[in-house]
Amino acid sequence: MAEIVLDKVTKRYPDGALAVSDMDITIADGEFIILVGPSGCGKSTTLNMIAGLEDITEGELRIDGQRVNERAPKDRDIAMVFQSYALYPHMSVRENMAFPLRLAHVDKATVTRKVEEAARVLDLTQHLDRKPGNLSGGQRQRVAMGRAIVRDPKAFLMDEPLSNLDAKLRVQMRTSVAKLQRRLGTTTVYVTHDQTEAMTLGDRVVVMRGGLVQQIGSPQSLYDQPANLFVAGFIGSPSMNFLPATLADGSLRTSLGTFPLTDRVRTLAEAASAPRDVIVGLRPEHFEDAALLDQTERARGGVFTAPVEVLESMGSDKYAYFTVEGASAAELDELAAETGAADLADAGSQLVTRLSAASEARLGQDLEIWFDPDKLHLFDPHNGRTLTYVK
């Protein structure tokens, strides 16, 4: 077990492309940390640098206080789980799991004991003598985990280990990975592009984009206090709604109407010396069907009317989609393209709202929608930074 420190770590490829830039993270002993971001953001490169599979161009990587930049992967005492599982096809499950121990010249009895112990934990005992080719996806994934845990390494690195599983199995394995990590208490760095995995698994989440760290924090803090438009749009499902708006005389003018700012938001915006043009961010769950609210609640928030375009009933609640007229900011288009929501960003911007199941919204009919103005986020449209950050 170990503390891993990335000190201004940079990766530049020979062709000059910058994959990771000035990355600073201290991963505490026993911590479960998630690197998350869209493809090409540098998260896998970072993991490979920690593993030693890729060279570090600049900066220093320390494991337990020792500089390991120049050490070969095998001398770092780190285990890795690959997206493809990378099981040796010519070896049985038992041999696969014993491989790292045999290379370390561990005596036979210990190897057998450790492999059987790991197999028991991962529920693989009856499959020990089978070849990986005859196992299901979930079983292979567990063998890959088993190969990592048998040798009690200083840290686990996991590169999208659940991406090749079907949706249901992925959720199951997610919980077992979390349980396993807590039980073993081994420092773990986990790479994923799936924000749900990031939110549910980690102690801390590192959001990356274009080789740069966007924000580091606990899942809840990323959700509540996104540092910029990218984090705000990336974390949360369905994602946050963004609307261009102008700030004037303590009120907010949007294409939905003009609404007064609450004291909390105004204080924060003033402290950040917000410009006139801003982007408003509102999470789907901060909307509600106005008909379901009492007068005082209703008066506290903003209300607008729009026709329901799409209505999805999830049982526990309903998602209603609206199209909002008005130009969207360039930053928003870029964001939509990167988060893969490009198909949604046609003509006007789309608004997703989560209403309670009791709502009587009808497809195609006008609906009065209420939102909580105290929960809104404001962002600078030029650099995307938040204007409503609570210190």
Partner: protein, 308 residues
């Protein structure tokens, strides 16, 4: 495919639908032209030479032609020249294929790993394979000639290496190796490409050194490709003819079984004995192929589980 797996195995193929049957018939019809051509150009000569091998048939004495059964086989198999040639052939085959495997693997690894000038290196490596064997054999012969040969002067001044049995055999093997290492390397490189990069990364994470990654991961995973390469090369090497023909003409007991066959069949005009020898070569080659496919092939990964 999927339909036949749904059917119960007990009823087997009997329950094919009309459509399936028609499809099979069409398949057979489509194969037929190729199958007929194959039988005409390979089947007929094979059967004809087996027929010839059962006869006393010498073109110098055509009148004495008669059916003699297995007499020719007894003649050949009890003859020391045949067994000398067989020993030479086996020696050349084993040594040259072994050396080719090692060098070919090294070359394949270099070609697979190289990052710069990849195309140039691959092209250069393939040059020997692109040169006509007889032409290359002549250049080897001149190089080892006791008067003009630069290699002979370099390694054995004042001697004629091609006239001593051991050195001549070494030169034949050298010429064979030089010619076919690129072919071996190409086949092995195709096998190397089948080893997933992740597997090697995983092995380094598991603590394997470069040599351990090679012996414990790369070699076992590419074993099927290695076996195919070895099979091709062994069959090819066993039929060695052109290099020997040019370099020594089989002098000093350096002739292979193919040389013996040529001497009897074409030079000696003895169709009976010559055909017997070619049938024996055919049988030897068939045994080699059988051993590779059934003995080694059955143990290859990918064949045992079926899916990988």
């Amino acid at each position: 495919m999927s339909e036949s797996t749904v059917e119960s195995p007990a009823r087997g193929k009997r329950v094919l639908s009309e459509g399936k049957k028609a499809e099979r018939r069409l398949g057979l019809w489509l194969c037929a032209p190729a199958a007929i051509v194959m039988i005409a150009v390979t089947g007929y000569p094979v059967i004809y030479s087996i027929w010839l091998s059962l006869q006393r048939y010498d073109l110098r004495f055509p009148g004495q032609r008669e059916f003699v059964g297995l007499t020719n086989y007894i003649t050949v198999l009890s003859n020391s020249y045949w067994w000398t040639a067989f020993g030479v052939t086996a020696l050349i085959t084993v040594i040259s294929v072994a050396v080719e495997l090692v060098l070919g693997m090294a070359l394949a690894l270099v070609m697979h790993r190289t990052l710069v000038a990849r195309g140039l290196i691959r092209t250069v490596a393939l040059i020997p394979y692109g040169i006509v064997t007889v032409v290359a054999a002549y250049s080897w012969r001149y190089a080892w000639d006791d008067n003009t040969g630069y290699l002979a002067q370099l390694f054995a001044p004042g001697e004629a290496p091609l006239t001593h049995r051991a050195s001549a055999l070494s030169i034949i093997i050298l010429a064979e190796v030089w010619k076919t290492v690129p072919f071996m390397a190409l086949l092995l490189m195709a096998g190397l490409a089948l080893v997933p990069e992740d597997l090697l990364k995983a092995a380094s994470m598991d603590g394997a050194s470069g040599w351990q990654r090679f012996t414990k991961v790369i070699l076992p995973v590419m074993k099927p490709a290695i076996l195919v390469a070895l099979l091709f090369r062994t069959l090819d090497a066993f039929r060695i003819f052109d290099n020997i023909f040019v370099l020594t003409s089989g002098a000093q007991e350096t002739g292979s079984v193919s040389m013996q066959t040529y001497n009897n069949l074409i030079r000696g005009l003895n169709l009976g004995v010559g055909s017997t020898m070619s049938v024996l070569i055919f049988i030897a080659v068939a045994i080699i192929a059988f051993v590779f496919v059934k003995v080694f092939g059955a143990a290859a990964p990918g064949n045992d589980g079926g899916k990988r």
